[in-house]
Amino acid sequence: MNELGKIHQLIIPFLGHNLTFNLEAIAMTWIVCGLLIIFGLLATYKKARIPGSWQILGELFVTQFFSLAEDALDKEMAKKYGPLICALFMFLVLSNWLGILPHLEEPTRDLNTPLSLGIMGFVIAHYVAIKTKGLKAYIKEYFEPIFFMMPLNLIGELAKIVSISFRLFGNIMGGSIIILVVSYLTYNILLPPFLNAFFGLFVGAIQAFVFTMLTLVYISVQVK
């Protein structure tokens, strides 16, 4: 029970402020990145006409998410932002599933990971908006439909970052807490595999998909 709140942190004083690094989240993120790089290499090193199993998996991800991107954006933007969507989904689904393996925990369990991915999506969406519509039209949009809606529109945009990040964080953290506490209460008999299957695999995959879809929708809403 005392394990719930413990995070190993590395605190480095720098220019008067303290830089805090949450070691577990960083290490787990590196593991996820390493696994993704290995998967990428395995899926593409042969490029046969009749694909081997890794290549099939890679093609599955790419075709699904590129078609999603094409539904939401037009062809040329979909080519540009498709890889982002694919990478985001693969990173998230692997991160959320990492908690099932013993002694590893999900990097998305720490609020910093979903928050930074959310801010990244937000910055990309607004960058795309300014690039396609120009600065003037972009700023004018905040004043629609009535002039004094501006602060509310602004807060609404910021609320989008909060909602997308906290949703992922809340689901993953909540799931891992439930698994921990219920396993503790039932003395690790019978329930843990089912809990892990539901909260780890099922909810993890759905939340990764929802995060990716929302990022895509935010980008496409800015472009239209």
């Binding site: 029970m1 719930l4 709140g5 999603l68 539904d71 509310l152 807060i155 609404g156 609320a159 909060v162 909602s163 906290f166 949703r167 809340g170 689901n171 953290m173 909540g174 799931g175 807490i177 439930i178 506490v181 219920v182 209460l185 539901f198 099922f202 909810v203 759905i206 998909f209 929802v210 879809m213 929302l214 929708v217 809403v221 239209k224």
Partner: protein, 324 residues
């Protein structure tokens, strides 16, 4: 106070535990009852699919149950955890934990009953779509449980955080506000998310070819419907983790309590409204998949406007915490 801290903590823990389970039982029971009612009606229309409909009803009811199982877990924790190291603030914290999970389980319980009911009805209409309807119901119900998971996270944090460093006034009122914010805010989003999932199951049963678009828009709609619950979670986190200075007046404490109350109650309406809006969008995308893009955009715009009162509530809540 004539009693010592341990007695007060005991009183609050047991009351909170009772409230958690009592309130938490409401939603799941209503949802499961609705599912059973619709399943019966579906059985009367299509007795030959009895086995499938019955199985779907049981599975759907099991997922609707999970919200009240969370409440059961919290209630057990409150009854059996050793709080001997607690301070006065812990008295309010454990009560707030019970209220948070109790209220939080209402919405998701009721909401998860809707897609299960629609899946049973759909199976009577289109027995061939049985497997796809069940999968869609599972996905929709699971996402619908998210607001109660948020309430659960808040309850756990309230039970297990060490509050001894905080001054009783106003931290006591702050944690109470935190519990109410997370718990009440989950009601609306739970019911709304269920309405969306219900529309998607219905839509897939009517028009199996539209499944891909319907599922995508269902997930999108449910995710946005959960935003008021997320705002409630945010306000409750701020209330729990912010350092407050000790004070003798009751106005600052009341401000923090009112901020939690404001965000909590204020998130109910927009949650339900966004769910209704999204269910309308999903239902009509199923009937007319070719204009899915147009309908999605209209749905998103409508939902964004419906969310505005939730944002006002959040602004007032934040003003009450930080400015006043």
């Amino acid at each position: 106070m004539p009693f010592d801290v341990q007695t007060w903590i005991g009183i609050a823990a047991y009351t909170g535990g009772g409230l958690a389970m009592g309130l938490g039982a409401i939603g799941a029971a209503i949802g499961e009852g609705y599912t059973a009612a619709e399943a019966n009606y579906a059985l009367s229309r299509a007795p030959q699919s009895a086995g499938d409909i019955f199985k779907t009803m049981l599975v759907g009811q099991a997922i609707a149950e999970s919200a009240s199982i969370f409440a059961l877990v919290v209630a057990m924790l409150l009854l059996f955890t050793d709080f001997s190291s607690g301070s006065l603030v812990t008295v309010f914290a454990v009560m707030a934990a019970g209220l948070s999970m109790g209220f939080g389980a209402i919405g998701s319980g009721v909401g998860s009953g809707f897609p299960a009911a629609a899946a049973c009805t759909g199976m009577a209409r289109q027995p061939a779509m049985g497997a796809r309807l069940t999968t869609n119901m599972l996905v929709g119900s699971a996402v619908c449980q998210t607001p109660s998971i948020f309430a659960l996270v808040t309850s756990f944090i309230l039970i297990f955080t060490d509050f001894s460093a905080e001054p009783f006034n106003p931290a006591g009122a702050a944690v109470m506000g935190a519990g109410l914010a997370a718990g009440l805010a989950a009601i609306g989003s739970g019911i709304g998310g269920g309405a969306v999932a219900q529309a998607s199951c219905e839509g897939i049963a009517r028009n199996p070819g539209s499944q891909k678009q319907v599922v995508n828009v269902m997930l999108l709609g449910q995710a946005i419907t959960q935003t008021p619950a997320i705002l409630g979670l945010l306000v409750s986190f701020i209330l729990i983790f912010k350092q407050f200075e000790a004070t003798d007046a009751i106005a600052p404490g009341m401000a923090l309590f009112a901020s939690g109350l404001c965000m909590g109650i204020g998130a109910i309406g927009p949650g339900i409204g966004e769910g209704i809006a999204s269910s309308g969008g999903v239902r009509w995308i199923a009937k007319n998949p070719s204009i899915a893009g147009e309908l999605t955009r209209t749905m998103l715009v409508g939902m964004a406007v419906a969310e505005s009162t939730a944002i006002y509530s959040m602004v007032i809540a934040l003003v009450l915490i930080f400015v006043v």
